[in-house]
Point group: C2
Chain length 452, copies 2
């Protein structure tokens, strides 16, 4: 990260910490409320519990809703737990429908009822239309604030209508064209509206190429569509009658992309991307403990394999010394292949049609590196232990294990995916277990055959 970024971001946290330490609350108040909701959210996430509560108290009530929306799940839940019902209801005021829907899913039932009562009939209907869909689908991402126009009116009429309407939602780069029964027909780009002859009709200048998105479409697929087509907004359309349901805007899609990326990184270490970095010790320990426990089972499996060769190790201690090398190299090679395949799967670039080609390539790469590094290790082992048989055994074990690493690195994620398991979560533990077991078994097994 750059020096400038290091400079910009810390300033909030540093300034705040200094102000908190010196206890000039008015300064903290001013500093916090001059920030944007997303920045306040990031700051809150960076603070240990006691300071976080203190700063949260200082956030202006009209910002609270937007800040809550931007926070990560666990941090948000912690703050919500401490808030009064009235405060929560007040915070939901003025939120966009998709944000409100997301928040309501996490609020206590009593608050939900009160929020719904506080809305007028139209807003309540809009909210329910979003709540009807899963959070991570196009329907859950959409807003119901889309402005729609008819194809047979002139641009002049549209311009007059907009001026009369008096406001247009943020990030409106296009109006949606619908027929009498609200069926989605295409988009009228605002840039066309501004530049075309006002006497032309909407139907003449509309863009019919951008298809409406069905509400059940997974969020990640929506994100791919926005990226591939460089969209700013898109229509969500009922699957049966093609009725316009709402619109998705790029800001929500950016959040999906960021969350998806976080998920890959965090889940590979058995972590939850929604977790609070400053969560209390006991729940943090419990969550991470589960992953350690799963790993322990696989470690016992590896130890059990080693245990099968107790007598061999006692006779040839050199093998015990070389054990970490075979296991470690296998683990690294397998993780490399796994990471490549997992990314390819996430991008939709790996599937059955090219898996065989990838298999062959990965095995070829593994064999090249296997022979190269096995030679190095065997040479060092020979110098170290002055026994060509030990050198031969570790050479063979390394080659076998890198072969197994390539095989597992490709097959495990493909297999997990077929069974509907996220390969980013389970893949790492499985492939390193494979290389540990194969590595130890081949090293000690060959050692038993050749050396005793």
């Amino acid at each position: 990260m750059s020096a400038e970024l290091q400079h910009r971001r810390p300033s909030h946290l540093e300034a705040l910490k200094r102000a908190l330490d010196q206890g000039t609350m008015r300064q903290v108040h001013r500093h916090v409320n001059a920030m944007h909701p997303a920045e306040i959210a990031s700051l809150l996430e960076s603070l240990p519990p006691a300071q976080r509560e203190l700063v949260w108290e200082l956030v202006d009530p009209e910002l609270e809703g937007d800040v809550l929306v931007e926070l990560n799940e666990e941090v948000r839940a912690g703050l919500i737990r401490e808030m009064e019902t009235e405060e929560l209801v007040a915070a939901t005021e003025g939120l966009e429908v998709d944000d409100l829907a997301g928040l309501l899913r996490e609020l206590p039932e009593a608050v939900n009822q009160q929020v719904l009562r506080s809305l007028d009939a139209q807003d309540r209907e809009r909210l329910n239309s979003v709540l009807a869909y899963e959070e991570d689908t196009a329907g859950g991402l959409m807003n119901t604030d889309a402005v729609s126009v008819r194809p047979d009116v002139t641009l002049e009429t549209v311009l007059r209508y907009l001026r009369m309407r008096g406001e247009v939602p943020d990030r409106t780069d296009a109006l949606f064209v619908v027929n009498r029964s609200d069926r989605y027909l295409g988009v009228l780009h605002v840039t066309r509206l501004l530049t075309e002859d006002p006497d032309r009709t909407v139907g003449e200048v509309m863009d019919t190429e951008v298809a409406g998105i069905p509400p059940a479409t997974p969020a990640i697929e929506v994100a791919n569509l926005f990226q591939d087509r460089d969209l700013v907004s898109a229509a969500v359309v009922a699957p049966g009658d093609g009725r316009l349901l709402g619109r998705i805007t790029i800001d929500d899609v950016v959040d999906v992309i960021r969350d998806e990326a976080e998920h890959s990184v965090m889940s590979m270490a058995g972590l939850d991307e929604d977790a609070d970095m400053f969560a209390p010790v006991v729940p943090s320990a419990r969550r991470r403990g589960v992953w350690l426990g799963i790993n322990l089972i696989t470690a016992f499996l590896a130890a059990w394999v080693v245990g099968r060769f107790e007598a061999t190790i006692q006779q040839i201690v050199a093998l015990a010394i070389l054990m970490p090398i075979v296991a470690s190299m296998g683990g690294v090679a397998a993780t490399q292949t796994l990471t490549l395949i997992v990314r390819g799967l996430a991008l939709g670039q790996v599937e059955r049609a090219n898996a065989k080609w990838l298999f062959t390539k990965e095995i070829a790469v593994a064999m090249l590196n296997g022979f190269a590094w096995a030679t190095v290790v065997a040479a060092v082992a020979f110098v170290w232990f002055r026994d060509w048989r030990i050198a031969a055994v570790i050479f063979a074990a390394m080659v076998v294990n890198l072969f197994a690493a390539a095989l597992a690195g490709v097959a495990v994620p493909l297999g997990l995916k077929r069974f509907g398991v996220d390969p980013a979560v389970a893949g790492g533990v499985i492939v390193t277990t494979v290389t540990d077991v194969i590595g130890f078994a081949s090293l000690l097994g060959l050692g038993t055959l050749l050396l005793r």
Copy 2:
């Protein structure tokens, strides 16, 4: 990933593979050119070399430039190498300035000269203004197609000007307001332009809150800004006189976000996110071999530590059997802490102001899990080897190693960052080396003290 996504994406690759296998070239041609440039790019990335070249030949010349822009670096370089100069010059026609600049950085000098000659004076100047900045800065991301207006004219005049102009760049959600000397003053949101009274002046309805971005700002910081403020476009402004230089649009920012995320995932496995999944075996093997070689050095270090205790292992083989457990648990715990801190650093949420708090927390978590799982391992070890001293030794070694894991997991990324090294790249190797060495040394060291 969902069934629907599995359904949508593969269709391109599957359909193509079938068409390629059956040799109906016309069908392949139609299929490929009906796709969007980003989709064609993704398809090309999914194909092994021979098929990739075949499909590339079929891409319509007018799409070639946009497809090249969307491709990953290595794949693009491979295709460029096979293209004639004229073909390359033709491909660059009609590209946006930022995309053209990005592409020119990778084209041979001869092609560059020819492209520059083919541009008119104004376009050449624009291009040079972008080329003057590093690719991963605001200046490198910007386009020079910003539409600017004066603050003292009425909205009516702006509307007439736009209609006369006849076209506005894609993703124009705002016009930039500048004074006589082209100094950036603020933005005129298109939504305001459409809804406000046409007799009002630009100065009255413009938004002065969005500051211009200096061209040297790192791309990742631009991305954070767009995310925090939900922007669609933003002005790039000269640092001295505040002159409007160009504008950045959300589509380029989305690419930055995606690239940054890819970088974290790939570099943790010592992989290059710009690498071609289907690159030839030898270069792939060489690149990955470097990482394996680095790992081998650390593995030898661990083996050397084990070697110090040869005599102990010979007497108490149980220790060799338990070695993988201590190392593996330490590695997993350290990777968890490391991942958390690396993410915190990337988000700007971890710095000196809260590092101490995190340190304390991570050590507390490690101690809880250390004692818990050490107890389990000690119990199993006792049942296995019927020796309470072995159980005691592995208990102590596990606790020591999880403590070391927490320490290294926090200290290593913070230290690397201070020295300007990307903690996502080097962190994993270093922390697992620490836990291997500490794990083996404590297990075998304590074993030597207590058991012999």
